[in-house]
């Protein structure tokens, strides 16, 4: 395991301190917790947005705290959901009196820990609502299972719900638009290399020099299947096809595209993937309104990418374009 870290035990602590040291204009850390919250927060009268999850997905989630996106992000140990007391601290710090929305990625642990925190907050008189993001089409869905996982699409929920809250939306409105995003966003990922949880010291799976893993999640777990490395275009088309099918996208519809690196993928390769995704969508008459390329929801030092497509309407387009100022995502204010 070759990492720029000080000690296995201190990675989350050091990472959070390093984030706050870099961007004090946007974020601060609540002392004694693993909660990143807005530098000047909470914002009175604004709906608060709280997200988070295990660490190892940087810049998610602390990197998305700031104007137009989250109010608090709660970090657990690497790939382990944070506990309710920590999430509760995040909720309190996000509470500007207009209620707090929890944006939870769909993992049993995350859902339960965030819900318990929500109950703790409600017991103290804070109005809390929550949404669960489940964009990963690699995992089959059914009412009898845990359902799809939440992966990179979560960032678009942060962006759009964050804009709605920043623009003065009520808790109901912010929740409604978050649910609209969730209903219309799908993702699928792949890996060129596995990643190593610092505490484990060895990779979550092994891949041959010429193999890739398709349908991976963001916790270093194996995906749905393994196949030989193919040209980027074919891989990108495969991922995009799955996403487009699940969304039942039709010609003439408008979308946003997020090409997300898994942690160790150079931008050159992400741009090459993006070209293939664009060509694929355009050939099907799907209009691309906005594209974001970069590393947003990572899996430690895994190499690979995920493709996310979000079906847009006028409301979502406007909120997607709303200004944002956070450590990891900024646009025209």
């Amino acid at each position: 395991m070759k990492k720029l870290i000080n000690a296995v035990e201190s990675v989350v602590d050091d990472m959070l301190d390093g984030l706050v040291a870099a961007y004090p204009q946007y974020v601060r850390r609540i002392p004694g917790t693993n909660v990143i919250t807005r530098a000047g927060g909470p914002t009175p009268g604004k709906v608060g947005l709280v997200s988070g999850g295990g660490s190892g997905h940087e810049p998610a989630h602390g990197g998305f705290v700031g104007y137009g996106m989250l109010d608090s992000a709660v970090a657990g140990a690497v790939f382990t959901s944070p506990t309710p007391d920590q999430v509760f601290e995040g909720i309190k710090a996000a509470n500007g009196g207009a209620g707090v929305l929890l944006i939870i990625k769909n993992y049993t642990g995350d859902v339960m820990n965030f819900e318990m925190a929500g109950e703790m907050a409600q017991a103290e008189g804070i109005e809390v609502a929550s949404v669960v993001v489940n964009d990963d089409v690699a995992v089959e869905n059914s009412t009898w299972t845990t359902g799809r996982r939440g992966i990179a699409g979560t960032v678009l929920v942060h962006k759009i719900a964050g804009a709605k809250a920043q623009a003065g939306g009520t808790l109901q409105e912010v929740k409604a638009v978050a649910e609209k995003v969730i209903a219309n966003v799908r993702s699928m990922g792949m890996a060129l290399t596995p990643c190593t949880v610092p505490a484990a010291g060895k990779p979550g799976f092994e891949l041959g020099e010429n193999e890739v893993e398709i349908g991976i999640g963001i916790h270093g777990e194996p995906g749905t299947h393994r196949e030989p490395l193919r040209p980027a275009k074919e891989i990108a088309e495969h991922l995009t096809q799955k996403v487009v099918d699940d969304l039942q996208l039709k010609a003439g519809e408008e979308v946003a595209v997020l090409i997300n690196g898994m942690g160790a993928t150079p931008l050159m390769e992400l741009f090459i993937v993006n070209k293939a995704v664009h060509d694929f969508l355009k050939a099907r008459g799907i209009k691309i309104y906005r594209t974001i390329v970069g590393e947003f929801m990572t899996s430690l030092e895994m190499a690979g990418c995920s493709v996310t497509v979000l079906r847009l309407d006028d409301e979502l387009k406007e909120l997607l374009d709303y200004p944002a100022e956070t450590p990891a995502f900024r646009q025209g204010r």
């Binding site: 657990g76 140990a77 790939f79 382990t80 959901s81 944070p82 506990t83 309710p84 007391d85 920590q86 993992y107 049993t108 642990g109 339960m112 820990n113 819900e115 318990m116 995992v139 089959e140 009898w144 299972t145 845990t146 996982r149 484990a200 999640g217 916790h219 270093g220 777990e221």
Partner: protein, 209 residues
């Protein structure tokens, strides 16, 4: 069982989960993310430090503190689930300084109800419930048959063990293992296994072993 007995039981649970931490994590590695044993171990170590080192005279308070501690230290799925179970048992025992075998079915009932409310799972989904529910049913039957304490508890332990075996034969539809679909079959559930260890520790504590 009084305060001392409860403290001894919880210490015994902490001990067995510590001893089995690697084993439980390995089980979790096969169908989950490989952290169950160490997360439980971390949680019960915190219970020993924060709750058992200076126990409350009120049994309900002790169990409530155990629940709070597990919730704030274990993380993942098991933290809120076991934490809720202990919180519910704590409410049930509020104000009590003594607990008997006759109280146990109700305690298990509220614990299981808490887990189900929190996790929205039923029996047969390859979770801790597949050890806990059979154990509770076996206990009910043994008590109805008028069996003595250790014998009744041994029936519960046997039923939990059977439940763990049963989890090998089914597909997970809740928790992280459910992402594997059919591939989860053949592996035993780590949460059911840790539940089994806890019930066994109860029997052993009562038996004075």
């Amino acid at each position: 069982m009084d305060v001392n007995g409860l403290v001894q039981l919880l210490n015994n649970i902490a001990k067995v989960l510590h001893e089995q931490a690697d084993f439980l994590s390995e089980l979790d590695n096969a169908i989950g993310d490989g952290d169950h044993g160490h997360n439980m171990d971390k949680g019960f170590k915190a219970v020993q430090e924060r709750v058992l080192s200076n126990p409350d005279p009120d049994l309900g308070k002790i169990l409530q503190k155990v629940g709070m501690t597990l919730i704030s230290t274990v993380g993942g799925a098991a933290g809120p689930l076991y934490g809720t179970a202990f919180l519910r048992m704590g409410s049930q025992l509020a104000g009590k300084q003594e607990v008997t075998l006759q109280d146990l079915p109700k305690l298990m009932e509220v614990a299981i109800a808490g887990i189900q409310q929190r996790g929205k799972a039923v029996r047969g989904e390859k979770t801790m419930l597949d050890a806990l529910i059979p154990a509770k049913e076996a206990l009910d039957a043994a008590l109805a048959a008028g069996k003595p304490a250790v014998e009744a508890l041994s029936d519960a332990v046997a039923a939990a063990a059977e439940g763990v075996e049963y989890t090998k034969t089914i597909k997970a539809t809740k928790g992280r293992a459910s992402y594997l679909g059919e591939r989860s079959i053949g592996h035993q559930d780590p949460g059911a296994t840790s539940s089994y260890f806890m019930i066994r520790a109860l029997r052993d504590t009562v038996a004075g072993a």
